[in-house]
Protein backbone atom coordinates (compact mmCIF):
# COMPACT_ATOMS: atom_id res chain seq x y z
CA UNK A 1 0.00 0.00 0.00
CA UNK A 2 1.26 3.44 -0.66
CA UNK A 3 -0.11 6.84 0.15
CA UNK A 4 -0.36 8.85 -3.01
CA UNK A 5 -1.03 12.52 -2.56
CA UNK A 6 -2.24 12.90 -6.10
CA UNK A 7 -4.76 15.61 -6.94
CA UNK A 8 -7.79 13.40 -6.41
CA UNK A 9 -6.55 12.10 -3.09
CA UNK A 10 -4.92 15.15 -1.65
CA UNK A 11 -5.98 15.88 1.88
CA UNK A 12 -7.95 19.07 1.78
CA UNK A 13 -6.01 22.27 2.43
CA UNK A 14 -7.51 22.68 5.87
CA UNK A 15 -6.22 19.30 6.94
CA UNK A 16 -2.84 20.13 5.47
CA UNK A 17 -2.77 23.38 7.41
CA UNK A 18 -3.80 21.60 10.60
CA UNK A 19 -1.16 18.95 10.07
CA UNK A 20 1.63 21.46 9.60
CA UNK A 21 0.63 23.48 12.65
CA UNK A 22 0.15 20.47 14.86
CA UNK A 23 3.39 18.80 13.81
CA UNK A 24 5.37 21.96 14.29
CA UNK A 25 3.92 22.43 17.74
CA UNK A 26 4.75 18.88 18.76
CA UNK A 27 8.23 18.67 17.32
CA UNK A 28 9.67 22.02 18.21
CA UNK A 29 8.06 22.66 21.57
CA UNK A 30 8.52 26.36 20.99
CA UNK A 31 6.93 28.89 23.23
CA UNK A 32 4.68 30.45 22.11
CA UNK A 33 3.34 27.66 19.95
CA UNK A 34 3.37 28.20 16.19
CA UNK A 35 0.35 30.09 15.03
CA UNK A 36 -1.18 31.03 11.74
CA UNK A 37 -0.71 34.66 10.85
CA UNK A 38 -1.87 34.80 7.27
CA UNK A 39 -3.75 32.70 4.80
CA UNK A 40 -3.84 33.22 1.07
CA UNK A 41 -5.45 31.65 -1.93
CA UNK A 42 -8.25 29.61 -0.42
CA UNK A 43 -6.03 28.23 2.32
CA UNK A 44 -3.65 26.68 -0.17
CA UNK A 45 -0.84 28.85 1.06
CA UNK A 46 -0.30 30.19 4.53
CA UNK A 47 2.29 31.76 6.77
CA UNK A 48 3.05 30.59 10.26
CA UNK A 49 4.97 32.48 12.90
CA UNK A 50 7.22 29.74 14.15
CA UNK A 51 10.34 30.80 15.98
CA UNK A 52 11.17 34.45 16.49
CA UNK A 53 12.28 35.86 13.18
CA UNK A 54 11.50 32.61 11.46
CA UNK A 55 8.39 32.16 9.42
CA UNK A 56 7.19 29.11 7.72
CA UNK A 57 5.47 29.66 4.42
CA UNK A 58 3.69 26.51 3.46
CA UNK A 59 2.19 25.92 0.07
CA UNK A 60 -0.11 22.97 -0.33
CA UNK A 61 1.78 20.15 -2.08
CA UNK A 62 -0.80 19.98 -4.80
CA UNK A 63 -1.05 23.65 -5.55
CA UNK A 64 2.05 24.27 -7.67
CA UNK A 65 3.52 27.59 -8.69
CA UNK A 66 0.35 29.59 -8.17
CA UNK A 67 0.49 29.04 -4.45
CA UNK A 68 4.18 29.85 -4.38
CA UNK A 69 3.62 33.15 -6.16
CA UNK A 70 0.90 33.83 -3.67
CA UNK A 71 3.31 32.97 -0.86
CA UNK A 72 5.98 35.31 -2.17
CA UNK A 73 3.50 38.14 -2.58
CA UNK A 74 2.30 37.41 0.90
CA UNK A 75 5.85 37.78 2.21
CA UNK A 76 6.13 41.16 0.55
CA UNK A 77 2.87 42.30 2.12
CA UNK A 78 3.96 41.16 5.54
CA UNK A 79 7.02 43.38 5.21
CA UNK A 80 9.28 41.00 7.07
CA UNK A 81 12.42 42.41 8.60
CA UNK A 82 15.80 41.73 7.02
CA UNK A 83 16.48 39.24 9.78
CA UNK A 84 13.46 37.17 8.99
CA UNK A 85 14.23 33.71 7.82
CA UNK A 86 11.62 32.11 5.68
CA UNK A 87 11.23 28.43 5.22
CA UNK A 88 9.24 27.57 2.17
CA UNK A 89 7.70 24.15 1.83
CA UNK A 90 7.16 23.42 -1.80
CA UNK A 91 6.41 20.67 -4.23
CA UNK A 92 7.29 22.87 -7.16
CA UNK A 93 9.85 21.31 -9.52
CA UNK A 94 13.27 23.00 -9.85
CA UNK A 95 12.65 24.68 -13.26
CA UNK A 96 9.60 26.46 -11.89
CA UNK A 97 11.53 27.44 -8.79
CA UNK A 98 14.22 28.98 -10.99
CA UNK A 99 11.58 31.01 -12.81
CA UNK A 100 10.12 32.18 -9.52
CA UNK A 101 13.54 33.09 -8.24
CA UNK A 102 14.08 35.37 -11.24
CA UNK A 103 10.75 37.10 -10.84
CA UNK A 104 10.81 37.48 -7.09
CA UNK A 105 14.49 38.09 -6.50
CA UNK A 106 13.84 40.65 -3.78
CA UNK A 107 12.08 38.25 -1.51
CA UNK A 108 13.74 35.10 -2.65
CA UNK A 109 17.10 35.62 -0.96
CA UNK A 110 15.56 35.09 2.47
CA UNK A 111 13.92 31.85 1.43
CA UNK A 112 15.06 28.43 2.25
CA UNK A 113 13.21 25.99 0.08
CA UNK A 114 12.45 22.49 1.20
CA UNK A 115 11.21 20.17 -1.47
CA UNK A 116 8.47 17.99 -0.08
CA UNK A 117 7.06 16.85 -3.40
CA UNK A 118 3.82 14.94 -3.22
CA UNK A 119 5.09 12.91 -0.34
CA UNK A 120 2.94 13.32 2.71
CA UNK A 121 5.30 11.25 4.84
CA UNK A 122 8.30 13.27 3.84
CA UNK A 123 6.46 16.42 4.75
CA UNK A 124 5.85 15.04 8.23
CA UNK A 125 9.49 14.00 8.51
CA UNK A 126 10.61 17.43 7.40
CA UNK A 127 8.48 19.14 9.99
CA UNK A 128 9.93 16.89 12.67
CA UNK A 129 13.52 17.44 11.56
CA UNK A 130 16.05 19.47 13.56
CA UNK A 131 15.78 22.18 10.91
CA UNK A 132 12.68 23.41 12.65
CA UNK A 133 14.22 23.51 16.12
CA UNK A 134 15.00 26.97 17.41
CA UNK A 135 18.65 26.07 18.00
CA UNK A 136 19.39 25.40 14.34
CA UNK A 137 18.92 28.54 12.34
CA UNK A 138 18.33 27.77 8.68
CA UNK A 139 20.69 29.06 6.06
CA UNK A 140 18.71 31.12 3.56
CA UNK A 141 18.90 31.27 -0.18
CA UNK A 142 19.37 27.66 -1.05
CA UNK A 143 17.55 24.40 -1.37
CA UNK A 144 18.68 22.34 1.53
CA UNK A 145 18.61 18.74 2.46
CA UNK A 146 20.74 16.90 4.96
CA UNK A 147 23.95 15.51 3.58
CA UNK A 148 26.06 12.81 5.16
CA UNK A 149 29.01 11.86 3.04
CA UNK A 150 30.22 8.31 3.52
CA UNK A 151 33.53 8.17 5.36
CA UNK A 152 36.35 7.31 2.98
CA UNK A 153 38.17 5.51 5.77
CA UNK A 154 35.55 2.77 5.52
CA UNK A 155 36.55 1.78 1.99
CA UNK A 156 39.30 -0.49 0.75
CA UNK A 157 41.51 0.47 -2.19
CA UNK A 158 40.76 -1.23 -5.47
CA UNK A 159 43.32 -3.41 -7.20
CA UNK A 160 44.38 -2.62 -10.76
CA UNK A 161 42.22 -5.45 -12.04
CA UNK A 162 39.17 -4.14 -10.16
CA UNK A 163 39.81 -0.64 -11.48
CA UNK A 164 39.91 -1.98 -15.00
CA UNK A 165 36.72 -3.94 -14.47
CA UNK A 166 34.75 -0.92 -13.28
CA UNK A 167 36.09 1.41 -15.94
CA UNK A 168 33.41 0.44 -18.43
CA UNK A 169 29.96 -1.08 -18.47
Amino acid sequence: MYLDISPCQTPDPVLFEELVLHKLGRSSGTNPAPHLISRHGDARCFIIQHITDTHLVAAHPDSGEKALISALQCMQEQNFSAKTQVILLSATPPPALAWLKQHHALTWHRCQVIQVNNDHGLLVDTLESPLFQSSSAPEPGRIQRAVHAPPDSETLPLTEEEHQFFSHL
Binding site: M1, P150, L156, F165
Partner: protein
Protein backbone atom coordinates in the same frame (compact mmCIF):
# COMPACT_ATOMS: atom_id res chain seq x y z
CA UNK B 1 -7.23 20.14 18.54
CA UNK B 2 -8.02 19.21 14.98
CA UNK B 3 -10.00 21.55 12.85
CA UNK B 4 -13.51 20.10 12.52
CA UNK B 5 -13.84 21.39 8.97
CA UNK B 6 -12.49 18.23 7.39
CA UNK B 7 -14.26 15.72 9.60
CA UNK B 8 -17.45 15.28 7.56
CA UNK B 9 -15.41 14.42 4.46
CA UNK B 10 -13.27 11.95 6.32
CA UNK B 11 -16.04 9.42 6.89
CA UNK B 12 -16.50 8.94 3.15
CA UNK B 13 -12.91 9.26 2.07
CA UNK B 14 -10.68 6.23 2.70
CA UNK B 15 -7.53 8.17 1.78
CA UNK B 16 -8.21 10.73 4.48
CA UNK B 17 -9.01 8.00 6.97
CA UNK B 18 -5.63 6.38 6.31
CA UNK B 19 -3.87 9.71 6.70
CA UNK B 20 -5.64 10.37 9.95
CA UNK B 21 -4.82 6.92 11.26
CA UNK B 22 -1.18 7.36 10.27
CA UNK B 23 -1.21 10.69 12.03
CA UNK B 24 -2.68 9.20 15.21
CA UNK B 25 -0.09 6.42 15.23
CA UNK B 26 2.66 9.01 15.09
CA UNK B 27 1.04 10.93 17.92
CA UNK B 28 0.93 7.94 20.23
CA UNK B 29 4.03 7.55 22.31
CA UNK B 30 3.19 3.95 23.21
CA UNK B 31 1.94 1.26 20.88
CA UNK B 32 -0.34 -1.41 22.16
CA UNK B 33 0.83 -4.32 20.03
CA UNK B 34 4.50 -5.16 19.50
CA UNK B 35 5.96 -4.08 16.18
CA UNK B 36 8.94 -5.88 14.72
CA UNK B 37 11.90 -3.56 14.36
CA UNK B 38 13.95 -4.02 11.19
CA UNK B 39 17.21 -2.19 10.93
CA UNK B 40 18.39 -1.76 7.37
CA UNK B 41 21.86 -0.25 7.05
CA UNK B 42 22.24 1.81 3.89
CA UNK B 43 25.43 2.26 1.91
CA UNK B 44 25.24 5.35 -0.27
CA UNK B 45 27.58 5.61 -3.22
CA UNK B 46 27.39 8.84 -5.17
CA UNK B 47 30.00 10.93 -6.92
CA UNK B 48 28.74 14.48 -7.26
CA UNK B 49 27.47 16.25 -4.13
CA UNK B 50 24.10 16.87 -5.72
CA UNK B 51 23.59 13.16 -6.18
CA UNK B 52 24.46 12.59 -2.53
CA UNK B 53 21.59 14.91 -1.65
CA UNK B 54 19.27 13.06 -3.95
CA UNK B 55 20.25 9.68 -2.56
CA UNK B 56 19.67 10.84 1.00
CA UNK B 57 16.31 12.15 -0.04
CA UNK B 58 15.52 8.83 -1.65
CA UNK B 59 16.50 6.92 1.50
CA UNK B 60 14.22 9.01 3.70
CA UNK B 61 11.30 8.65 1.30
CA UNK B 62 11.85 4.90 1.13
CA UNK B 63 11.97 4.58 4.90
CA UNK B 64 8.72 6.46 5.21
CA UNK B 65 7.12 4.27 2.58
CA UNK B 66 8.30 1.07 4.26
CA UNK B 67 6.68 2.21 7.48
CA UNK B 68 3.30 3.01 6.01
CA UNK B 69 0.64 0.58 7.20
CA UNK B 70 -1.08 -1.74 4.81
CA UNK B 71 -4.54 -0.55 3.80
CA UNK B 72 -6.06 -3.39 5.84
CA UNK B 73 -3.95 -2.66 8.90
CA UNK B 74 -4.22 0.12 11.41
CA UNK B 75 -0.51 0.16 11.99
CA UNK B 76 2.52 -1.31 10.22
CA UNK B 77 3.59 -4.84 11.12
CA UNK B 78 7.24 -3.82 11.16
CA UNK B 79 9.12 -0.67 11.87
CA UNK B 80 11.88 -0.12 9.35
CA UNK B 81 14.85 1.96 10.24
CA UNK B 82 17.20 2.93 7.42
CA UNK B 83 20.54 4.06 8.80
CA UNK B 84 22.43 5.89 6.09
CA UNK B 85 25.53 6.38 8.23
CA UNK B 86 26.37 2.66 8.08
CA UNK B 87 30.09 1.97 8.22
CA UNK B 88 32.14 -1.19 8.23
CA UNK B 89 32.97 -0.63 11.88
CA UNK B 90 29.35 -0.24 12.92
CA UNK B 91 28.24 -3.17 10.78
CA UNK B 92 30.93 -5.45 12.15
CA UNK B 93 29.54 -5.07 15.65
CA UNK B 94 26.38 -6.84 14.64
CA UNK B 95 26.31 -8.48 11.24
CA UNK B 96 23.07 -7.36 9.60
CA UNK B 97 20.69 -9.70 7.81
CA UNK B 98 20.47 -7.26 4.93
CA UNK B 99 22.12 -4.13 3.63
CA UNK B 100 20.72 -1.66 1.13
CA UNK B 101 23.09 -0.14 -1.42
CA UNK B 102 22.00 3.09 -3.09
CA UNK B 103 24.31 3.70 -5.98
CA UNK B 104 24.44 6.46 -8.53
CA UNK B 105 24.40 5.50 -12.20
CA UNK B 106 28.01 6.34 -12.95
CA UNK B 107 31.25 4.38 -13.14
CA UNK B 108 32.81 6.40 -10.33
CA UNK B 109 29.85 5.63 -8.10
CA UNK B 110 30.12 1.94 -8.98
CA UNK B 111 33.76 1.99 -7.89
CA UNK B 112 32.84 3.76 -4.70
CA UNK B 113 30.05 1.31 -3.96
CA UNK B 114 32.38 -1.60 -4.63
CA UNK B 115 35.06 -0.12 -2.39
CA UNK B 116 32.51 0.14 0.42
CA UNK B 117 31.20 -3.39 -0.11
CA UNK B 118 34.70 -4.84 -0.21
CA UNK B 119 35.32 -4.66 3.55
CA UNK B 120 32.02 -6.48 4.07
CA UNK B 121 32.91 -9.50 1.94
CA UNK B 122 33.03 -11.77 5.00
CA UNK B 123 29.29 -11.16 5.55
CA UNK B 124 28.36 -14.38 3.86
CA UNK B 125 24.81 -14.49 5.26
CA UNK B 126 23.94 -10.88 4.58
CA UNK B 127 21.66 -10.05 1.69
CA UNK B 128 22.77 -7.00 -0.29
CA UNK B 129 19.96 -5.13 -2.03
CA UNK B 130 20.82 -2.63 -4.75
CA UNK B 131 18.88 0.41 -5.96
CA UNK B 132 20.35 2.37 -8.86
CA UNK B 133 19.74 6.10 -8.90
CA UNK B 134 19.84 8.52 -11.80
CA UNK B 135 19.88 6.12 -14.73
CA UNK B 136 18.24 7.39 -17.89
CA UNK B 137 15.96 4.35 -18.17
CA UNK B 138 15.30 0.94 -16.67
CA UNK B 139 17.67 -0.82 -19.05
CA UNK B 140 20.52 1.51 -18.22
CA UNK B 141 19.83 1.07 -14.52
CA UNK B 142 20.02 -2.67 -14.91
CA UNK B 143 23.31 -2.39 -16.80
CA UNK B 144 24.92 -0.50 -13.91
CA UNK B 145 23.55 -3.00 -11.46
CA UNK B 146 24.89 -5.93 -13.49
CA UNK B 147 28.35 -4.41 -13.64
CA UNK B 148 28.44 -3.99 -9.89
CA UNK B 149 26.96 -7.42 -9.25
CA UNK B 150 29.37 -9.12 -11.65
CA UNK B 151 32.27 -7.34 -9.96
CA UNK B 152 31.29 -8.35 -6.44
CA UNK B 153 30.65 -11.90 -7.60
CA UNK B 154 33.92 -12.18 -9.50
CA UNK B 155 36.25 -10.56 -6.98
CA UNK B 156 34.45 -11.02 -3.66
CA UNK B 157 32.21 -14.01 -4.36
CA UNK B 158 29.36 -11.90 -3.05
CA UNK B 159 25.96 -11.94 -4.78
CA UNK B 160 23.68 -8.89 -4.93
CA UNK B 161 19.91 -8.55 -5.26
CA UNK B 162 18.45 -6.00 -7.66
CA UNK B 163 15.54 -3.98 -6.28
CA UNK B 164 15.15 -1.58 -9.17
CA UNK B 165 15.78 1.93 -10.37
CA UNK B 166 15.11 4.94 -8.19
CA UNK B 167 12.19 6.99 -9.53
CA UNK B 168 12.65 10.47 -10.91
CA UNK B 169 11.17 13.40 -9.06
CA UNK B 170 7.73 14.26 -10.33
CA UNK B 171 4.31 12.76 -10.61
CA UNK B 172 5.45 9.16 -10.61
CA UNK B 173 7.75 9.52 -7.61
CA UNK B 174 5.31 8.22 -4.98
CA UNK B 175 4.36 5.26 -7.14
CA UNK B 176 8.02 4.47 -7.86
CA UNK B 177 8.96 4.63 -4.19
CA UNK B 178 6.00 2.40 -3.36
CA UNK B 179 7.18 -0.17 -5.90
CA UNK B 180 10.72 -0.07 -4.54
CA UNK B 181 9.48 -0.49 -0.97
CA UNK B 182 7.42 -3.46 -2.07
CA UNK B 183 10.47 -5.06 -3.69
CA UNK B 184 12.63 -4.44 -0.63
CA UNK B 185 9.99 -6.02 1.58
CA UNK B 186 9.58 -8.97 -0.74
CA UNK B 187 13.27 -9.65 -1.15
CA UNK B 188 13.89 -9.32 2.58
CA UNK B 189 11.32 -11.98 3.39
CA UNK B 190 12.01 -14.19 0.40
CA UNK B 191 14.06 -17.17 1.54
CA UNK B 192 14.61 -18.51 -1.95
CA UNK B 193 17.65 -17.62 -3.96
CA UNK B 194 16.65 -14.53 -5.91
CA UNK B 195 20.14 -13.58 -6.98
CA UNK B 196 20.13 -12.11 -10.40
CA UNK B 197 23.09 -11.98 -12.71
CA UNK B 198 22.55 -12.07 -16.42
Amino acid sequence: MLNPAWRPAQADNPALAVIQQHYKINSDSTMESPVKAINLPVICAATPDQSADEIRYLASALERQLNLPDSRQLQPASHWSLSTGATETSLNDDQPEQVLILVDASLDALKRAYARIKPLQHFRDTRFHVIVHGAKDAESSRRYYRRLAMGTLRFLDLPLVYCGAAPERGNGFSQGIANLAQKVKQSSTDTSDCREIQ
